[in-house]
């Protein structure tokens, strides 16, 4: 059972991490609480379905096309919808909820509410000490780690990464130092939505597509981000695995309460926030930024 919990926790945690880091990135840099983040993940999944099942495109090209299209869509949404209201955090919050619902309704119109799916890139499974693991899960786990390393390298080794980190530290000072704050925010939005699209692309063979599939990951992603500390990439990464393992523990230790896995994860988040309101790696006071 221990191995079951480890495997299950690692895989769930990786997917949470990928979503949460994208969400955290744009919040850290531009203070944008993008509720539509997981809706972009949903759109990417539908793009892959459309290209592979309706247009006959191969799964790998379909993945790339989906990521490009969704990133572009995210940039358009940012430029024409989010950026004009960016300074009003409540407006951004409500606006992005509306954006997510609009995307959901468009998908409902085109694809109806039918449950759809796409084939795995790698079919089959292997057994590790009696625990069956899908090749697709392993692939997803590998892809998540690769992307996280690439993101870390981008942040630490490139000029854009430096600008992003500066912005996350202090927007005003970054601006005074000559960093084009608007352009960096736009690029970060692109990376953030791109990460959501990538998550959608790698997860889609493991999940069921429907226009409401963005809601469940949204809640757990928010929980991860708040648990780790808003805007902290390290916090999101660790928070994702904490909640991933929590969910696995619930399913294995309380079978009848498997549906409670989300609730238990959220309870842990609340508990941490009571003890440490800024989250595990968050900053206690805004003035410290």
């Amino acid at each position: 059972m221990l191995l079951d919990i480890i495997v299950s926790g690692l895989i769930s945690g990786s997917m949470f991490a990928l979503l949460a880091i994208g969400f955290s990135l744009i919040f850290g840099v531009a203070r944008i609480v993008n509720i539509a983040h997981t809706a972009f993940y949903m759109i990417a999944a539908y793009c892959i379905f459309f290209f592979t099942q309706r247009m006959g495109v191969g799964p790998i090209p379909a993945m790339f096309m989906a990521i490009i299209i969704v990133t572009f869509l995210g940039l358009i949404a940012y430029r024409f919808f989010i950026e004009p209201i960016r300074e009003h955090e409540a407006a951004v919050l409500i606006g992005t909820i509306a954006l997510a619902i609009a995307m959901q309704e468009v998908m409902l119109l085109f694809f109806t509410g039918d449950f759809l799916s796409v084939p795995s890139l790698l079919e089959g499974f292997f057994s590790l000490m009696g625990v069956k693991i899908f090749f697709q899960q392993l692939l997803t786990f590998g892809a998540v780690l690769t992307i996280l390393i690439a993101l870390w390298l981008m942040l630490m080794k490139t000029r854009l990464g430096l600008a992003v980190r500066c912005m996350a530290e202090d927007r005003e000072v970054a601006n005074l130092m000559g960093i084009n704050e608007r352009r960096v925010a736009m690029a970060t939005m692109g990376i953030s939505v791109g990460l959501a699209a990538f998550t959608g692309a790698v997860v889609v063979p493991l999940t069921i597509l429907n226009p409401f599939m963005w809601m469940e990951p949204l809640i757990i992603m928010m929980a991860v981000v708040v648990l780790g500390g808003l805007g902290s990439l390290k916090g999101s990464f660790i928070g994702a695995y904490i909640l991933g393992f929590t969910e696995a523990l619930v399913v294995f230790l309380i079978p009848k309460g498997a549906f409670l896995k989300g609730s238990v994860a959220l309870s842990i988040m609340i508990l941490v926030l009571i003890i440490r309101p800024e989250g595990l790696f968050g900053i206690a006071f805004e003035e410290e930024r």
Binding site: F115, S117, E123, F125, F134, T207, I208, M213, F259
Partner: protein
Amino acid sequence: MKREVLFGCVCFALCLLMVSALPGWASDSIKVGVIGPMNFVQGKGHWNGATMAAEEINGKGGVQVGKKKMKIELVKADSNEFLNVTDATNAMERIITHDKVDLIVGGFRTEAVLAMQDIAMDYKKIFIGCGAAHPELCTRVAKDYGRYKYFFRGTPFNSQFLVKTCFIQMATVGAILKQTLGIPAVKVAIVAEKAIWVDPMIEAAKGFIPKMGMELVGIWRPSQTATDVTPEISAVQGSGAHMIFTVFSASVGITFARQAGELKVPAVQVGINVEAQKDGFWDATKGMGNYVMTMNTYCRGVEANELTAPFVEGYVKRFGETPTYTADTYTFLVHGLVPAVEKAGTLDAEKLIPIMEERQFKTPAGTIKYMKDEQGRHLHDLTWGPGFLTSLGVQWQDGKMVGVWPNKWKAAEGAPEITYKGMVPYKVPPWVIQAYKK
């Protein structure tokens, strides 16, 4: 001048009143409201069934109402009830007050249908429920007949009979497993989505599984929308279950079937999996749903009576898919409404209801007879059992949905065997045989 303007306004108001009242007294059609979640399979079934019925009835010239032939006119209403019950009640209010329908068919979620039922009863409109299975919908009729007599259950039979049928099918498969695998007793794991309608079924199963000589090894309750159930599947496999009693109505049915199939879990799946009742299941699970068995109403090639094949094949020809049970709007309109209206010679609900209550009529799914409770009160609920409605047990076998139950089924000791036309033997998945057969 003022008087002329006033006179003009009064005339205009009168004209408006006459125009708005026109459909009420000058209509040559029977307006049937079809209400359901139209963006989902269930609502599409409601609408397609009703469309097919209207085309068939109108093609024959319409319904003889007294001395007048009236055509069926359908009015579509999207209840959006999966997302918002208020949308459902608004849609019901609109088709009654604005579209002025004569009667309504449809509804799916019990929570929404209970609310819609009240609105239809307020307006004394006949409402045929074609989706929700909760007994309360019909218990209300018995308890407060004066108010709820306008409601009839169209499909499916109530959840108490659903669970009874599940147990019969489990026992059938259990016997096959014992024989095929050479095991002394069948171990059963219950995997049921977390939903209110499932709770009584779980309680019943907990009591009934040991009575069937089977051992209950665990109960797992994933969320209805879970997108990954591998932890549950691992746990079920660890429990040593030979049979998984599934109770799914939502997307988790696809997730579970797909992942369990891909992981080749050595246990058969029996029970209710609404997604497995649809033609799209094979594609949705990418073929991993092979050998999944579920209760169903229709299956191509299976005939409960002589009406089944013409309906199923006609539906497939018209809509390109096998009908699901919500398409029984067809059944009610063609076999229930038309003969009742023609007999009554009127659309007056007060005169139609006694006729509908007493009629016993054949439909493509079986024979319908409305039940009374122990006190002899009208329930307007469907009778279950041999000779009436029994439903089917279907199994996915290599890309095709086939009928496997009732196949030589004896409803009671000494009762005659029942086998519907087109039944094939149940198949145990080869990896299950491989895992247990020494």
